[in-house]
């Protein structure tokens, strides 16, 4: 693989890794608060549909983004209701909401636009267009770094940069603020939070809301930035890959960045079997590349590369009275 190709693949990596990153951080907030969320996929899908639909009708990507976040929050709310208020099974709730999203997105899009569950193609202000980082022209000429700056870092939509910014922000929130301390505590031992006079329920709902917002951005990115419109099942399992990345990252923000970018890279090179063949001098079946993120996750889960210990109270509804 020559440098130009590498640059190209890395550019793809960032574009494809962004929705994973956003969803992964979404899952991080939820799981750190002790709420398992298999429903990242469904929330992204809903958000993609809503933002695609609203951006198409209003012509504004930003309004679309708002709609996406709203739709995702709706699902997050149901998940919160099921797992926090009604102390239901969080895994089942997530699975169920994914199915609801699969069905609802197509139903709604088909009803609104009659285009087979797709939303109309977006153009102009209805999409987030790429933005050039400052100094691209001058820096592009610098050998080595120049192309990297111009082609990998620059030229993405604003949502990509928002996603990247979310990483230090999440880290700061989690480890440097009162909210973060309480959030981490509630995922480890909700009783400690409760006896300290802090509401477990409110904390967990806050986490679920953050999850909803981030999934909303992720979905909107899919429909209004990566693509120009919503298509059925367009998230294509990204919610699950994000979950895998979260485990890979051991529930930590910076590691989440690296994990999602690794998975984004795997997706990017899976698009280019020709490049792999040229680099490795052997043919690797595309399905094997497609399966690689999942296989890596299983290996991590198996504890062969360091133990992935989830937040201790994860998945258990908080019940005071036996």
């Amino acid at each position: 693989m020559d440098y130009a190709t590498l640059i190209e693949v890395l550019g793809s990596t960032l574009r494809l890794g962004t929705p994973l990153l956003l969803a992964c951080l979404a899952g991080l907030f939820s799981e750190r608060a002790g709420i398992f969320d298999i429903g990242l996929e469904g929330k992204m899908l809903m958000a993609a549909m809503a933002s695609g639909a609203v951006a198409a009708t209003t012509g504004s990507a930003w309004i679309g983004l708002g709609a996406g976040i709203f739709a995702s929050l709706l699902f997050a709310g149901v998940h919160g209701l099921a797992s926090i208020t009604f102390r239901g099974n969080q895994l089942i709730s997530g699975v169920a909401l994914n199915f609801v999203a699969s069905g609802a997105t197509v139903l709604i899009a088909q009803t609104l636009f009659g285009q087979g569950g797709r939303t109309p193609p977006l153009s102009g202000a209805a999409r987030f267009s790429p933005i050039q980082l400052p100094g691209v022209e001058t820096l592009a000429a610098v050998p080595g770094f120049g192309p990297f700056y111009a082609k990998v870092l620059s030229g993405h939509s604003i949502l990509v940069y928002i996603a990247l910014l979310c990483v230090p922000l999440t880290w700061w929130l989690l480890y440097r603020t009162r909210f973060g301390l309480r959030l981490r505590a509630v995922g480890e031992n909700p009783e400690s939070v409760d006896t300290a006079g802090v509401s477990v329920i409110r904390l967990r709902y806050t986490a679920v809301v953050l999850t909803g917002v981030l999934c909303g951005i992720a979905g909107a990115y899919m429909a209004t930035s990566l693509q120009a419109g919503f298509g059925r099942e367009m998230t294509a399992g990204r919610g699950y890959i994000a979950l895998a990345a979260l485990i890979f990252a051991k529930w930590r923000p910076w590691q989440a960045l690296w994990a999602t970018m690794l998975f984004g890279f795997l997706q990017a090179i899976a698009l280019r079997p020709d490049v792999i063949e040229g680099t490795l001098h052997m043919k690797i079946p595309v399905p094997a590349l497609d399966a690689l993120p999942y296989i890596l996750t299983v290996i991590v889960l198996a504890g062969f590369v360091g133990r992935a210990i989830p937040p201790r109270a994860g998945g258990q509804p908080y019940v005071k009275e036996r």
């Binding site: 190209e8 153009s123 790429p130 990566l226 120009a228 990017a268 595309v286």
Partner: protein, 300 residues
């Protein structure tokens, strides 16, 4: 096919053909979209059971199930597009896509400034190789030095419906210098052509006339008159003749699209060259190799 009815390409063409028939005759028809491979047989049987006649299906993937279903309903006529099914009550319609692709290949080579053109196919099957091979032959006919960058989206029907991947592949081709990209990939093409427009190069649509999608960025479209085939099938009704129908340049079953959206991009010289080539193909003076006859392509 799995690309979805509104792929603005193959399936939409079929849909338009049916709609045209409805508009003209006031007849009614039922349509069903496949969501998965396993549904095909049920859908086909359901239509046959309900007395629909004829039943038109688009896409090679129906071939196998049609082979088993057709004998069960000897009184029903079936039409399959893009596939040959040898049953007494089946009309098989195949197109000489290599011919149309040859023409758009020529246009691509003439429009290209870099001397590198691209092709993004959908699912990696001989049918799509046939598009690619015809295209490459056309390109080389104009500029033997030209480079054709070729990518397939995938190996399964999901490749018809993966705009994200289409978009990424297009970006990769642009990075390799391509400034004209031919999208033969169903709904995936939406992503390909979107990227073409975003990146300011030229694209070539497929099956339907897709020129209107991104005016100024659509060089042309390789039209394949699936709509006509469907229309004719419906018009013929239950009495339609079965057997193999091969449709090509000669009967205007394939061709390149020229309309107000791309008029500025096609110079008179280009049009003259292509039209001349079309005549020669019709006359048999230029033989465009059909990939599917021997699964090889004479040009790379």
């Amino acid at each position: 096919d799995l690309g979805g009815k509104f792929d603005k390409s193959f399936n939409e063409a079929a849909f338009n053909g049916a709609e045209k028939w409805v508009a003209e005759t006031g007849g009614s028809y039922k349509q069903l979209e496949m969501q998965s491979e396993a549904q095909r047989e049920q859908a086909l049987r359901r239509f046959a059971e309900s007395g629909a006649n004829p039943i038109v299906m688009t896409g090679f993937a129906f071939g196998d199930v049609l082979n088993t279903v057709a004998p069960d309903y000897p009184d029903t006529k079936f039409v399959i597009i893009d596939m040959v099914v040898d049953q007494p009550n089946v009309r098989s319609v195949v197109f000489q896509e290599e011919q149309g692709s040859y023409l758009v290949g020529m246009l691509a080579a003439m429009a290209s400034k870099t001397g590198t053109v691209g092709f993004v196919g959908g699912m990696d099957i001989p049918l799509i190789r046939k598009f690619e091979c015809g295209y490459a032959q056309g390109v080389k006919a104009v500029n033997p030095e030209a480079k054709v960058v070729m990518n397939m989206t995938g190996t399964t029907p999901a490749a018809w419906n993966d705009p994200v991947k289409g978009s990424e592949l297009t970006k990769a081709q642009i990075a390799q210098g391509a400034d004209v990209v031919y999208a033969a990939a169903g709904s995936t093409g939406l992503g390909i052509l979107q990227t073409v427009a975003d990146e300011g190069i030229l694209g070539i649509g497929v099956d339907s006339n897709q020129n209107y999608m991104h005016p100024g960025h659509m060089l042309t479209s390789m039209v394949k008159r699936v709509d006509l085939s469907v229309y004719e099938a419906f018009k013929d009704g239950p009495a339609l003749e079965t057997g193999l129908v091969v449709s090509g340049l000669k009967d205007e079953g394939v061709g390149y699209a020229l309309d107000e959206y791309n008029a500025d991009l096609i110079t008179p010289e280009m049009k003259a060259a292509v039209d001349a080539a079309a005549e020669k193909i019709k006359a048999g003076e230029i033989a465009v190799h059909d990939y599917m006859t021997d699964n090889t392509c004479p040009v790379e």
